[in-house]
């Protein structure tokens, strides 16, 4: 559990830089929900922060789904993120593209941004993929 701005969430707390990935079949009409925050712990340089990005790969082509930089600051709060994954499942307007047959790798990257200083930790509120079914 991690508390940011008084709000507590189940979260992955990772060193930066870091890369976490999960493999899965994306359900139809899926949305990936998470929230982002920076754990400054023992203090931080002014302007220091963490660049978060989420991408998706089929082992051949990587596409960026979201990029956001959060500056470490007092009075920070969770930054909610919702990512539309509908293009990676279900029926598509295509003769050849069959996303439901693909095991996708969703990649969560975080790396430091701004001036170097005390190491920061990136907080990913436990990502949830909600959809119409498997």
């Amino acid at each position: 559990m991690a508390t940011v701005g008084g709000a507590e969430q189940r979260a992955l707390s990772v060193m930066v830089p870091s890369r976490v990935s999960v493999q899965l079949r994306v359900p139809e009409r899926a949305v990936l929900s998470t929230a982002l925050a920076v754990d400054a712990g023992g203090g931080h340089e002014t302007g220091a922060g963490v660049a978060f990005s989420v991408g998706i790969s089929d082992g051949r082509t990587y596409e960026s789904l979201m990029e956001r930089t959060i500056v470490a600051a007092d009075g920070a709060s969770w930054q909610p993120v919702q990512i539309d994954l509908r293009r990676y499942a279900g029926w598509q307007w295509s003769f050849f593209y069959r996303p439901s047959s693909i095991v996708w790798e969703i990649v969560f990257n975080s790396y430091s941004s701004g001036p170097a200083g005390e190491p920061l930790r990136a907080l990913w509120a436990v990502p949830v993929i909600s959809g119409a079914g498997r």
Binding site: R60, T61, E63, R87, S94, Y97, R98
Partner: protein, 379 residues
């Protein structure tokens, strides 16, 4: 001179020119490597080749290499099933959009990588020979004018560059010519289908789609034009869809090749003129400027002709529009290949009157570059 003797003389001239072309191409042959020197593989490209091509010997260029090295790898894996091709090409989605002549090489080489590579290397020559025969049919007269136009179309520097660099522009222009000729002769669906196939060679070939627009605004003509337009666009859409299943949103990579109208053109004019003035207008370094002037004359002449009913004219105008927005890098030399359809439209629409000679000479100043290119092989 009798008609038969005259025909023999002109046939002899054509045969000599064909032999010059073949002898020039033969100079690219290397023992143990065949014609692979035209692929211009650089060191890195040779080391990171697609899996199926690893055992095929290829000549390696000591310079930066050129694009033929990418298209030939598509030829040994024409459906891009091997993921190693993604790292082997500089931009796999971009190259793969121009797949047609990789397919033809695969068919000519019966799918065997070593044969496919050699087939890819020589297919520019095969298309050139077929185009020479087609042009002879298109320009049947035994006249000096027809012979000159025939020569200008075949020896234009864009055509020679395509051959010596194993690129797609020469064969692609040949295909376009066949499609446009079919349209000119009223075979709108057959012509449109050929243009559609040509779109698989280069996306810029789709510009020739303007030639299927109706000549008159009647309901019947509009309906036929609509069907023809669908035939032009559908092959590209289907192949694009296939590529999208592999490369998804990155499939549109490198589609932003355009600049503001006139900006790159004006810059190229100024740069090439400066070089020519400094080196002397009769020096070898002035040749790029002469070729540039020639292309400009072609554009002006085609625009002035104003012949909306002609498929060639419409295509020429579409490529003039492209000429005005292509990026500065293209003006470094590739424009002679990119604008090949304009060169053909210009030459094939030259009137046989007293304006022929001055317009032909000025519009084909680029042939001086061709003479230099061919001569360099025999030095």
């Amino acid at each position: 001179m009798t008609g038969a003797a005259r025909a023999r003389v002109f046939l002899g001239c054509r045969l000599v020119l064909v032999c010059v072309f073949l002898a020039w191409f033969a100079s690219f042959y290397r023992d143990g490597f065949g014609f692979t020197s035209v692929l211009h593989f650089n060191q890195r490209g040779a080391e990171t080749r697609v899996e199926r091509m690893r055992d095929v010997p290829v000549a390696v260029d000591s310079g930066a290499g050129y694009d033929g090295q990418y298209y030939v790898q598509l030829a040994v894996d024409p459906l891009l099933t091997d993921p190693s091709i993604d790292g082997a090409l500089d931009s796999a989605p971009f190259r793969a959009r121009r797949i047609l002549f990789s397919w033809t090489a695969w068919v000519l080489g019966l799918g065997r990588p070593s044969w496919v590579v050699q087939a890819y290397c020589i297919q520019n020559v095969l298309f050139w020979l077929a185009f020479a025969a087609w042009l002879r049919w298109r320009l049947p007269g035994d006249t000096v004018e027809d012979l000159l136009v025939w020569t200008a179309c075949l020896f234009t520097p864009g055509m020679l560059d395509s051959t010596r660099l194993a690129l797609i522009d020469g064969p692609s222009a040949c295909l376009l010519a066949v499609g446009l000729e079919a349209l000119e002769r009223g075979r709108s669906f057959a012509g449109a289908l050929v243009l559609g196939v040509a779109g698989l060679a280069r996306e810029t070939n789709l510009l020739a789609g303007v030639s299927v627009l109706p000549r008159r605004l009647t309901r019947r003509d509009a309906g036929r034009a609509l069907i023809a337009a669908v035939l032009v666009i559908v092959p590209t859409l289907i192949w694009f869809d296939y590529l999208r299943s592999i490369y998804r949103s990155t499939v549109t990579q490198s589609l932003d090749q355009l600049s503001m109208p006139f900006v790159a053109y004006a810059d190229a004019w100024e740069r090439l003129f400066r070089v020519a003035r400094r080196a002397g207008f009769l020096s070898l370094r002035a040749l790029p400027w002469l070729a540039f002037v020639g292309t400009t004359v072609q554009a002006v002449h085609v625009l002035a002709a104003r012949n909306w009913r002609s498929a060639w004219w419409r295509t020429g105008v579409a490529f003039i529009a492209l000429m005005l927005v292509i990026r500065a890098e293209i003006w470094l030399g590739a424009y002679l290949r990119v604008l090949l359809p304009l060169t053909l439209a210009f030459n094939l629409s030259l009137p046989r009157d007293r304006t022929f000679w001055p317009v032909f000479v000025l519009g084909n100043l680029g042939l001086t570059t061709s003479v230099s290119l061919v001569a360099s092989a025999f030095r």
